[in-house]
Subunit: 581 residues, 2 copies
């Protein structure tokens, strides 16, 4: 049941903002339209039922975890798989952005003085979660289960007490618009669909369990399916309860205080129970954000092992690949939070599209799978997934049409990211071809020339010369002079020191270093290659005792190394010199 | 005269905010106190006279440019020099922040719809100036002189028309408080001093000419002194004119519209002349910000060549050192603008202290110089600088006492930066001692071992092996395996390929790479050093054709190289492999 709790945080937490989204749309017409939240809520529940049934089937078909990327790629082909993958990246980034913003709303509703610091608090929370994850917080940490239990308890309390008030007539003073009230001027179907699609944000996160089946005890499929059903039931109860009470108490959405907070205030006043509800709400939302941090690096890893994303998300060793994923997610969600000024209701449309596009694709994938494999009893199963696919597609389309202003960017982003995925894959394949051994016999190296740029005669130069003379056939020191005086001085010093190395002095007219040095190296390289010699440039690097001391050294050698490697493809040997201070 | 124009932009532009600062302080008492702006303005003019006379003497004494850092260091010692240097860094950063903020105020006063975007516009302007300077905009670009001429013309127009109105009685409908009106409840000396010190912000920038004498035609000192006097006269006229009109029109400072804009509106209405005035004001302020970009990198260079700042500001070659200064200045002023939300009047106290502390120190330095050298006629000269020093010190002290809340941070910053300067110097000197050649004879290297980490058998490995075999006495390939299967596969392939190199296979239990590899290298290094052998690790680096392709490669090799250099001080050879795609 711990698994149930932690995996459910994403789905259950959306009760904190889902009902509010419906009311925000209805509020544009007026309080008189609030009764529509009841039929719309019933529509959301039906969709929830369809999704739960569909996902149960995915659990049994993909017992090793059936993310939308895998299911779509296997059944629909690469491009739909990549569309699903791209949407899922959006989904996870927005899981973090939306959950943290909504969590911040819960906090600022309870403590209004913090309201003007919304963005700051949200960014701080993301940084906090990012650091926890970088330090290796595991989803299985059982302490993470408690916020979910507490949240369910808190919501059950508010719903039970609220309903008790309603039944005993101790309800609100304000009267809600009775169901069926006609709206002066009418209400458009467009607006109702908009409200419905907004409410579907309450369903984001229900897919989490189907991705994590191996985490369940054996028989894991059966246990995962049971958990999913149970979670669906709890979600249905909490959503219905909050939706009904919000309608009955005629709560008007308000940018400064969430619907949940208003409801809590109305029922309990601002007492300890109210703060308990707000606190657990904030906690479960932070936990929901955390699920994004488990899912994103895994998806990035899968995409990277299929060569659609950079290898940096694949790096094995020291969790580095995962760390890259975690950092990418943290930075992306912070940027989104800042761009949207932490406004939850403006982030939600993007989030919902990011969720419902992969919903649609994975259900469609399942339909194709049933049609192709036709196992026993395939027809009802196919119909179940078909219904799931159709409703999900419908919700996506409703979002795109009713909230085009807010979600058009995803229409730009998805083709772009798919193109990027394909470009990356193409690059890796071309590189692989190039690296494969063939029967070309490489040119024989006849000897090695080493070049050491020197700025004076120091211990570092001494050590570097010694190393170079040990391995190279010829060693040259290159000194860039700015004036005749220093030039002569250097020549004299060199002669006195006499390390049996030829000193090449180049005069730089404009006090430049990099360019004259490159020129010398170019000339030597040409000559060397004609004779089958290989050139290596030796650059000393100071290893400082304190990290910040690095700022005081090495800039020019870093620059020179980058130049030599990238512009000239010269072999560069870095000779470290460790400071004692 | 072009030199006059461009060098004067910093000083003349402060007329755009100086008078306003006086009124902002007086406004806390009420409009009835505005008449005090006249005596306070006269005080500012007297201070201007003292500064001009003092700086004329600095020009003749330091014909190669007498920045406060140089003058203070030479005459007062290192610590006062560093205090001056630290304050000047503040001065230049705030020259940019204040001028750009004030320029943005000029723009948003004219186009109120932009007011809510103040910070954004200011940051954009700084980025714009930074890029221009990185691309090598020179102060001598003669086009830069025009904004100064136009600004002077604009201000002369507003002053002449304004005075004409006043004389002909077509002046404002509102009545100004007559000079000498008593304030009910009285006015404190504290407040008057505060207003006076605020008004001194109009004098920031007068030092610019004394730093740039070599830019003048011969006889350069005489020309520079003439230019300084002329600029002082123009500044005095413009400041007096604006101050008087602001008083006569009884302009009340206002966060949304500058005093200059209000004055322009009153006199001309919002017609073309008004927009011309606002436009040229914004332009000259941007130009003033630009002077910070000429001065800061030069000061950083001077401090760096005295080893008080990191060598990165000194890097000769390709203007890199200057670029580092320009970027530092751009970033610092953007951070300040954001921190102060682009509020000019809150930035000004810091700016003024940053200006008047070096004023004080360089004048004091001159006093000491006269006392020490006693040339002909030294006494009146000494007195002139002494008066300059005393008044500057007084202004600094007034600032520190009357605006402590806004300038305390500089009292923290200055000791800190001086400490940092000294620490950096100490580090460089310690390092220098260490690097000096002594008579220790380094251990003889008996042979070279090269280690090549391999992940498979590719062309890159082939090339790297060939290179290593050409120079090393012994070569080892190290392969990290995660499972028995891949381990056997690799061994078989290696045997078939047979490059005459011993393959060391290490099994990594936790799918890590870096740690097992380091362990192998550590073991080999210990053995090698016992036998007097040197170890080099060869790491291939992919050189991609397009820059962004770098993201797709090299992360693990970069990490490994950093580890080997910094944690182990192992010599690392980077073997570039250039992709054809
Ligand atoms: K949900
Ligand atoms: K969710
Ligand atoms: K989600
Ligand atoms: K000035
Ligand atoms: K100035
Ligand atoms: K200045």
């Amino acid at each position: 049941t711990k698994a149930l709790a932690i995996l459910s945080s994403d789905a259950l937490s959306s009760v904190a903002y889902g009902p509010e989204q419906i009311l925000i749309v209805l509020a544009t017409v007026g309080a008189v339209a609030y009764w529509y939240s009841i039929p719309i809520g019933i529509g959301v529940l039906i969709l929830l039922l369809a999704l739960i049934l569909s996902y149960r089937q995915i659990i049994f078909s993909y017992p090793h975890g059936g993310g939308a990327y895998v299911v779509s790629k296997q059944n629909l082909g690469v491009i739909p798989g990549l569309v699903a993958g791209g949407s899922l990246l959006v989904d996870y980034i927005l899981t973090v952005a939306v959950s943290v913003s909504a969590g911040t709303d819960a906090i600022t509703s309870a403590i209004p003085i913090l309201h003007s610091h919304t963005v700051f608090i949200a960014v701080l929370l993301v940084i906090f979660i990012t650091i926890l994850n970088l330090r290796g917080l595991t989803e299985s940490a059982s302490i993470l289960a408690y916020p979910v239990y507490l949240f369910v308890v808190a919501l059950v309390i508010i719903i039970v007490v609220g309903l008790f008030n309603v039944i005993t007539g101790n309800g609100p003073q304000v009267t809600h618009s009775p169901i069926g009230t006609t709206i002066p001027g009418g209400i458009s179907l467009f607006l109702l669909l908009k409200a419905f699609s907004s409410g579907c944000s309450a369903l984001t996160g229900v897919e989490a369990i189907s991705n994590a089946i191996p985490n369940f005890k054996e028989p894991s499929e059966r246990n995962a399916a049971k958990t999913l059903t149970m979670m669906g039931l709890i979600l249905a109860v909490l959503f219905s309860g909050i939706m009904f009470l919000a309608y009955w108490y005629s709560i008007t959405p308000n940018a400064e205080e969430t619907v949940m907070s208003q409801l809590g205030s109305e029922i309990f006043g601002r007492n300890i129970i109210y703060y308990f509800i707000q606190g657990t709400t904030a906690l479960i939302l932070v936990l929901a954000a955390n699920t994004g941090f488990s899912a994103f690096p895994l998806l990035a890893y899968n995409l990277a092992s299929d060569k659609f994303m950079p290898r940096m998300y694949l790096l094995r060793g020291d969790r580095l690949g995962y760390s890259n994923g975690i950092i990418t997610l943290g930075v992306a969600s912070i940027l989104l939070i800042i761009a949207f000024q932490g406004k939850t209701e403006q982030l939600i449309p993007l989030y919902a599209v990011g969720v419902f596009v992969p919903f649609t694709l994975s259900q469609t994938g399942m339909v194709i799978k049933w049609l192709r494999e036709k196992p026993a009893n395939w027809f009802p199963k196919m119909i179940t997934n078909l219904v799931g696919a159709l409703i999900s597609a419908l919700v996506s389309i409703i979002f795109l049409t009713t909230k085009f202003n807010q979600v058009w960017s995803i229409l730009v982003f998805l083709p772009l990211i798919v193109y990027l995925f394909l470009t990356i894959r193409k690059h890796y394949e071309a590189v692989g071809d190039q690296l494969r051994l063939n029967n070309d016999i490489p040119d024989k190296i006849k000897g090695n020339i080493m070049i050491v740029p020197v700025a004076g005669i120091t211990k570092v130069v001494e050590r570097t010369m010694q190393y170079a003379q040990g391995i190279a056939d010829e060693v040259y020191a290159v000194y860039i002079s700015f004036d005749k005086e220093s030039e002569q001085q250097m020549r004299d010093k060199w002669e006195t020191w006499n390390p049996n190395v030829k000193l090449i002095v180049v005069h730089s007219e404009y006090r430049e270093i990099t360019r004259p040095l490159l020129k010398v190296i170019d000339q030597m390289e040409q000559k060397a290659h004609e004779n089958g010699f290989e050139i290596t440039v030796l650059i000393p690097q100071f290893i400082t005792k304190k990290n910040w001391h690095n700022v005081l050294h090495n800039q020019s050698s870093l620059l020179l190394r980058a130049y030599l490697l990238h512009k000239r493809s010269v072999i560069v040997t870095t000779v470290p010199y460790r400071f004692k201070v």
